[in-house]
């Protein structure tokens, strides 16, 4: 009992109020346009007429919640849907349930610690998050990486793209009722995670890509370990084709579902497979090559119809393209240093600390003060499995970033959901969410 004599159950009010989908009467015309996925389809006056015309039928529609605790929403995504019967009229994604203030945290961590933070954002593709942070810091430091470090990074990223897309295959299958696919996808991904453990010591959140290179050289048997996966994967992918790609039920669930046009995808800042499914061949690895992507041969996979099936097929094909890249890396991996020999950036090896006073001082300075990064700001983008992953760093000349902004592709790709949902069925909503492949750790940061 509170002082006012009213019963208050702590935590009973879990509403987000103004963040939620509002009744039509409280929704402005532009907001209605956004939520009904009509940013480019309808003019504002048309939408006003539509919202007025359908206002009378509001008692026939129903606003329901999907999530935040729903197995098919990939974490804690909450969707509010306005339904008329089985048809989705309006959609509003409500996010923030996984917000842990990682951008604020990034301002408290030094450049040595920064990638331990960013690697936890998109937990399905941690190497990309480490990479983009380190590339931004290196751009400010103006350090030149040794070739082997670049190629090790590329190897890890492509393997990570495969594991991330395999995870998508598993969850996409699970969402649509192909439970067998879930088991297969996790099985293949687990083999990849064991490979990462072999390389970095950890299955996830590796903190392996560091400013100035990578934390350690690849183990002596890395080729055999990679080849073991490359040997089995083509057969497994062929099994996926049998199980899903050519199967009429699978096609029926995905083809023509969640269609998005190229104009909409561009207007809504969608990148990655969502954008490529509409036929726009935009891949940063090709369009603005970073690392050594200009020295390997691969194809950018594009779709035609912009539907959920295209997004599925693109990811499946991208696994094969990544295998192609990894095979080339196996042949072309250069010898040499795995990190830059700059005493201000790279800590000295443990053995050197015992014998050299200078090494001890550098080690001490690096781990107490951290590395001083010149003033300036930089924006670096890489192509993560989900799209353009960007890092905007502002340095004030100290050992910690003044501002660290991570542009997570899932955060922007989620905005396409109202467009994919419009006039679709509730049952297809799950297929649409799944085909965007959002990772909530990256959305909420």
């Amino acid at each position: 009992m509170t002082a006012t004599g009213k019963d208050v159950i702590v935590g009973a009010d879990t509403g987000e109020h103004s963040q939620e989908l509002q009744d039509r009467a409280e929704t402005s015309t532009t907001e209605f346009l956004l939520e009904s996925g009509a940013v480019l389809r309808l003019s504002e006056s048309e939408a006003a007429r539509l919202s007025e015309a359908s206002a009378g039928t509001e008692d026939e529609t129903m606003i329901i919640n999907m999530g935040p605790q729903h197995p098919s929403t990939h974490g804690v995504l909450r969707l509010m849907l306005e339904l008329q019967g089985e048809t989705v009229i309006r959609t509003k994604p409500i996010i923030g349930y996984l917000h842990t203030g990682m951008e604020k945290q990034g301002e408290q961590l030094s450049y040595l610690q920064g990638q331990t933070n960013t690697t936890r954002m998109d937990y399905a593709s941690p190497f990309f998050n480490e990479l983009v942070f380190c590339m931004a810091a290196e751009a400010l430091l103006e350090v030149e990486l040794p070739a082997r470090a670049t190629w090790i990074r590329m190897l890890l990223c492509e393997l990570n793209r495969m594991s991330s897309h395999l995870l998508f295959m598993a969850t996409n299958g699970m969402d649509l009722g192909a439970v067998g696919m879930m088991i297969y996808g996790w099985r293949e991904r687990d083999a990849m995670l064991e490979l990462f453990q072999n390389f970095t010591g950890l299955r996830m959140n590796h903190n392996f890509i560091r400013v100035g290179g990578v934390a350690a050289d690849l183990p002596a048997d890395w080729r055999e370990n990679v080849l073991r996966i490359l040997d089995v994967l083509p057969d497994r992918l062929a099994e996926y084709d049998t199980l899903m790609t050519g199967q009429p039920i699978w096609r029926g669930r995905l083809q023509g579902v969640g269609v998005i046009t190229p104009e909409e995808a561009i207007a809504l800042s969608a990148t990655g497979p969502v954008l490529r499914s509409t036929g726009i061949a935009h891949d940063l690895r090709r369009a603005a090559p970073y690392l050594a992507y200009d020295q390997v041969d691969f194809d950018v996979i594009v779709g035609t119809y912009g539907d959920s099936f295209d997004r599925y097929a693109i990811r499946l094909a991208e696994i094969r393209e990544s295998m192609r890249i990894v095979e080339q890396i196996l042949h072309q991996m250069p010898a040499g240093d795995y990190r830059v020999q700059d005493k201000k950036v790279t800590p000295p090896p443990r053995a050197r600390i015992d014998e050299s006073m200078e090494a001890l001082i550098h080690h001490f300075k690096l781990f107490t003060e951290g590395m001083k990064v010149p003033e300036g700001e930089v924006y670096v983008a890489v192509e993560s499995p989900r799209g353009e992953l960007g890092c905007f760093l502002v340095s004030d000349g100290s050992a910690k970033p003044y501002r660290m902004r991570i542009r997570g592709p899932s955060f922007f790709n989620l905005q396409t959901l109202p467009h994919m949902m419009r006039d679709g069925l509730v049952a297809d909503a799950v297929a649409n969410i799944s085909s965007v492949d959002p990772i909530m750790g990256e959305v909420d940061r």
Binding site: L40, G101, K104, L145, L268, F412, Q415
Partner: protein, 151 residues
């Protein structure tokens, strides 16, 4: 490093010229709004800026991309502390919607004309704007005598 960021152009503006500048950039072919974010320069007012730009506490930073040829431009808009209000660019780029909501949530910068300017990551009744520099980091209290108090 011959990377994709080396070609980024930076354009400075103030609140009054912000919307027109983004319109002209869109007309030059920058068809995708990659990011809208902000920086609070409360404790770092001395950052490098051209002489003709008036320094303000906040900067709204917009990253635009030209898909054809992958050209980037970064708009830095000076936003005063007293009246942190900027016109929205959601009328030009629908994709700026969520990003502007995040900037409002994290920095308290109001986007004039935004269709649905509510908090996006923090709870609705949250007080303060976490990414401002005068907002404390916070600390989980622990039961040790020597443990520092909350910041």
């Amino acid at each position: 490093m011959a990377d994709n960021h080396s070609s980024t152009n930076v354009v400075h503006t103030d609140v009054a010229g912000y919307h027109d500048l983004v319109v002209s950039l869109r007309d030059q072919g920058f068809n995708m709004c990659i990011d809208v974010t902000a920086v609070d320069y409360l404790t770092y007012p001395g950052r490098a800026l051209p002489d003709d730009v008036t320094r303000e506490r906040f900067e709204v930073v917009v990253n635009l991309l030209k898909l054809d040829g992958v050209e980037r431009v970064r708009v830095r808009c000076q936003v005063p502390q007293g009246n942190p209000t900027v016109p929205t660019i959601t009328d030009l780029y629908a994709g700026a919607d969520a990003a502007e909501r995040e900037v409002f949530d994290m920095f308290g910068i109001v986007f004039d004309g935004h269709p649905d300017l509510t908090r996006i990551l923090m709870p609705e009744d949250w007080e303060g704007h976490p990414l401002r520099k005068d907002y404390g980091v916070g600390r989980i209290p622990v039961q040790f005598k020597a443990a520092p108090g909350p910041r």
